[in-house]
């Protein structure tokens, strides 16, 4: 092979695998706690469940330093533009976990105030069910995302169609009457 002369502490592999390995093992979440789920997200980061085992203990306060946005809680109509802005401030590659039923589908709050699923605002990679999901459930969601990163492609992550791909937003304010798009700066 021509590698016999190389000292034994070298490994060979594809660059792609190295990139995926690096991305998977140091995925820094942004602090984006909204409601009840944020408390369980803190529990996941605390000593007992110890997110640090997955290289994720650094919750970055600045979205520009974060790879992962865990949307923990219900997203109100007033918060949705802020959420989108935070997402846009994150640098690629970036991932989104929708934590809890409120973020995933609006949950029990199907009313004027709550966005019925954060995937109307940002593209979502993993949905974590529960109200609120326990730390184990969130860890399972995180590991699912890690597996997606490990087996996915590094250059093209998301299908053109699919969850959140058309994140141009249509939020109805009144039953049956479509309102003009309320979010600023979204991309189709």
């Amino acid at each position: 092979m021509g590698l016999e002369a190389v000292p034994h502490n070298f490994l060979t592999g594809r660059l792609e695998d190295l990139v995926k390995w690096a991305r998977r093992n140091s995925m820094w979440p942004a602090t984006f706690g909204l409601a009840c789920c944020a408390i369980e997200m803190m529990a996941t980061g605390a000593a007992h469940y110890d997110q640090a085992r997955f290289g994720m203990e650094v919750f970055r306060a600045s979205p520009r330093q974060a790879d992962l946005m865990i949307v923990a809680g219900r997203v109100s109509q007033k918060m949705a533009p802020v959420l989108r802005q935070v997402y846009d401030q994150m640098v690629e590659p970036k991932w989104v976990i929708s934590m809890g039923v409120c973020a995933s589908s609006g949950g029990m709050f199907n009313n004027y105030a709550i966005v019925q699923g954060v995937d109307q605002v940002v593209p979502v990679d993993v949905y974590v069910p529960g109200c609120p999901p326990g730390p184990e459930t969130l860890l399972h969601g995180i590991l699912t995302l890690h597996e997606m990163v490990r087996t996915g492609e590094i250059m093209k992550r998301r299908r053109a169609q699919g969850a959140g791909a058309g994140a141009g937003v249509q939020i109805d304010q009144v039953d049956g009457i479509p309102s003009p798009v309320r979010l600023i700066g979204t991309q189709a």
């Binding site: 109509q77 589908s105 199907n110 009313n111 004027y112 019925q116 109805d172 009144v174 039953d175």
Partner: protein
């Protein structure tokens, strides 16, 4: 809603009894402000006052009767009530503004309720007397569209500034968004 219905009177006798005004504070208010009606609702002292004198009654309670804290200001929309308790001497209107006061020295509570008509939803603000009423009055304005005269900064507090309507009014729809599932053939 249920003006002069005999049914209402019969039920009113069960829940709200007109008593010989056991609470001395309520008696003093009724004496000082003609037109006020004092009742006892489930063991709690309630005074129905005219909305014109709400601020004066509150001031009197604060200064003369040592009511030290305004614990809550809120409003109720009675537009869709099936049945409403009849109180002799009180002309029921669509909205009610409810002010809860607490006296620490007396260890007593009193509740002031004033009727607010639909066509002129205005009441005097108690914020100049109790600065703590600032947020709750703004909330009542935001949710019900009731204007508080003399409030220093009456603006929307919970909903976005450009929101149409007042969500907690009964004629404001809850704005449910139909739940759709992936692959659902029905048009959205």
């Amino acid at each position: 809603m249920s003006d002069e219905s005999p049914q209402g009177d019969a039920d009113a006798a069960e829940t709200v009894e007109e008593i010989a005004i056991a609470d001395p504070v309520a008696a003093a208010v009724v004496e000082g402000f003609p037109g006020s009606v004092a009742v006892e609702s489930h063991g709690q002292s309630v005074v129905y006052v005219d909305r014109g004198v709400l601020a004066e009654v509150t001031k009197r309670l604060r200064d003369a009767e040592r009511f030290t804290q305004c614990t809550d200001v809120t409003a109720v929309d009675h537009a869709a009530d099936v049945e409403r308790v009849e109180i002799p001497g009180v002309v029921r209107e669509r909205f009610e503004v409810v002010v809860n006061l607490l006296s620490h020295p007396r260890n007593a509570r009193i509740r002031l309720i004033c009727q607010v008509p639909e066509d002129d939803p205005t009441v005097p603000s108690v914020t100049p007397l109790f600065p703590g009423a600032n947020f709750p009055e703004r909330e009542a304005y935001d949710m019900f569209g009731i204007t508080f005269d003399g409030h220093p900064d009456l603006a929307r507090i919970l909903m976005p500034d450009d929101w149409d309507g007042h969500p907690l009014r009964k004629d404001d729809p809850i704005a449910r968004i139909p739940v759709t599932f992936k692959g659902d053939p029905a048009p959205r």
